[in-house]
Amino acid sequence: MAVGVDIWQVKVAFGALEVLKGVDLNIAPGELVTLLGASGSGKSTLLNVVAGLLQADSGDVAFDGRSVQDLAPRDRNIGFLFQSYALFPHLTVAENVAFPLRARHRDKKTQGRVTQQMLDLVHLGEAGGRKVSTLSGGQRQRVALARALAAEPAVLLLDEPMAALDKHLREEMQVEVRRIQRDVGITTISVTHDQTEAMTMSDRIAILREGTLVQVGSPEECYMRPADRFVATFLGEANLVPLTDRAGSGGTAVVRPENYTVETNLAAPAGPYSATGTVRLVSYQGARCRVEVTAETTGELLVASVAGTVDRAGLAPGAPVRLRCLEPDKVHVLT
């Protein structure tokens, strides 16, 4: 019985600083939505408002259509995963996971059974008796997740859940957390500044900038059809090519680097969105090759990301090249 979350015109200010300027967001039951933004965008503030750890100046938050604004965090039936995990250092793994059950006065038998279920769910079935201090970073995160889910909360809130993990473990846990979230079917709001994490884990991404939502949509939508220049450059890399139509006022084309290929034969006919310029830098990145080009007309930096390798001899710095757009129909035009 997953629960929908409705956020309505939430405003928060710390003194003169407006951190959230009226945010609306509706999250469907069982959906995982990621709040993505740079530091200071207000994403963590919004999560804390949903949790009740912070009081909004105005606006409302509702779970399943019922306002939770006047409920304390402990009465909202949420699971919160902290960036630092906030495991209780004086309790064992099992005692940590059992804590929310104890707070709800479940009997000892239920506590033991549910705790074991939760530890099995996160693949730590054998670790119940261990001290928190003996666990690795990844194990701590699993315990924290098991604890957050133990009391069958209505909503799961993740605050920069992967920030304390190294890159390899982070990728593994992104998939793992997503699996568990799907298995449990719990409505989830996650906060991150890592766009790859947002793309990997989310049903939808909500991009925040300076306290305002600038775009909400599936990862594909946000990447392929960014709402504005900010989203275009924030989510992945983008070449913003100005268009001039006959009237003189054109839009801006968003051409992703992988949609450009590099040609040294300038005599060939130019396609749409193509540009000429001189090579600035070529760098090899394993599966792909990145070519930076200074545009002839605007002097701006354009980037192409080419699959495989390129002819390095023809791409010495200063060499004249043309960037040709591979799939013009995938180019999104901002007006």
Binding site: G52, P89, A103, S133
Partner: protein, 274 residues
Amino acid sequence: MTALRESLGKSGWAVRLAAGLAAFILFAVPALVLVATSWTEQRFALFPPKGFTLEWFGEVLTSKKWLQPFGRSATVAAIGTALAVILGVAAAIGVSRLRSSRAARAWRTVMILPLAVPPIALGVGLYNMGRWLNLSDGRMALLILGQMISALPFVFVLVAGAITRLDPNLHKAAQTLGANSWLIIRKVELPLLGPTILAAAVFAFVVIFDEVVLAVFLLPPGVETLPVTMLRASQETMTPALTAASTVVSLLAVLLLGGSQMVGRGKKGGADAP
């Protein structure tokens, strides 16, 4: 800290040597002289001791003249400590709950204020209070109140310091997991603060046990705590029995406080989390 050591360079030696000398002259010498005079065979406490006898320790540990005030001091200190710990820990946790930083600051100022009130003025005030309230038998209660107040700042500062070193997310995490205030205090905060509270309790006990100014003002004639007995004895003559009593009391304090520190260290080492 190694970096600090390196930053002092060659002058570091001089600083550490001077500190060692200061420790020896200011702390060690008076204590050693006091202890040494307690085994002299003379009737007056004078350094250097002549001969060696445990007679004075025997007298202190068996005579009612010393044991009765000792028992009274221990009782008063136990009650005062219990009160100071309950009030001080509750205050430290309560102040950590205040949302307004101005209110928290005002509370800290007030909690440490008793340190700034001269003991003699507090004694005069409590003495007058007792007279006006016509408390002839209640003076002991006033004494306990006053001595508890004198230990309160230490309990508060120690515990409040430990609270600021706790991960603030632990409290938030417990809230989101459905715990009410009482459960958070009982199952999260008190266990984590345990070693600090124990250390604070022992320190408060020793502070109250040793307190003499309030006791001099508030106790009726003939009723004495140990420090009052010792003060009165010292104003007659310095006897080896007095220095023996001083040695015993100091030894007890050192054992008690040293022991509580060990327990604190041991506990902290076990539950260490990054």
